[in-house]
Symmetry: C2
Subunit: 134 residues, 2 copies
């Protein structure tokens, strides 16, 4: 099949399939006589693997590694697990950061009148004034 159908079946845009190939995340596709990329069901399966991995937030670098482990039947699950655990840690860190932001932001918005007067604890905080509330 051509790249368009592979795109529909995998859920990865045509643009990104080509970019993944360029950047070495997936192997170079076979070409037909007129230079069109040609994909098999197996290729689509690989693309779906990438798609699912992206949806779990893995970086392309991680996905490259996961793909090579997937294709390598003499892999060890320890290596796979290590990648996933590192990713879990970085996601947890990200959640913590965002939650700290949210805590501050919610406090500030709660105390902002939101009316047509200029006084605003949000701006006060951003401009470095210490919050006396709470």
């Amino acid at each position: 099949m051509n790249i368009g159908e592979a795109s529909k079946l995998s859920g990865i845009s045509v643009k990104m399939i080509r970019k993944y190939e360029d950047s070495g995340i997936i192997p170079k596709a076979r070409r037909n006589e007129s230079g069109y990329r040609s994909y098999s069901e197996k290729d689509v399966h690989t693309l779906k693997f990438v798609k699912t991995s992206r949806s779990l937030g893995f970086s392309m670098k991680d996905i490259k590694e996961l793909l090579s482990l997937w294709k390598n039947t003499s892999r060890t699950s320890a290596n796979v697990k290590r990648i996933a655990e590192k990713h879990v840690e970085s996601l947890e860190q990200k959640v913590d950061e965002i939650n700290m932001m949210l805590k501050t932001l919610k406090h500030l918005t709660k105390n902002c009148h939101g009316d047509n007067r200029p006084n605003c604890p949000i701006l006060s905080n951003l401009s470095g004034e210490q919050d006396k509330g709470l």
Copy 2:
């Protein structure tokens, strides 16, 4: 003061101060005779405002707007609050997404032996096999 000191005092790198100026987030700095950018305490205050806003996760686009509201004494707090509330919503959405990823990832890593055998529920999931567990 020169850009280096403004950078130290504000916590924003020299590179980024120049970039913020180029992209119109902050006004063009005055220049001295030899073309060096020159900053006042007030300019540093503005840079600190940007720094604090970034640390709360606001986009540069939002910060540009917040800055103009800050400088505008006839602003309404409603306008400020609107920006902050939108930001809160988008952060909450981001947290939700990450938490969904984490739920799946933790379930998978918990069930991965992490030994020297190749069998691995993480790879099985990524390759599209349905998880029978849970």
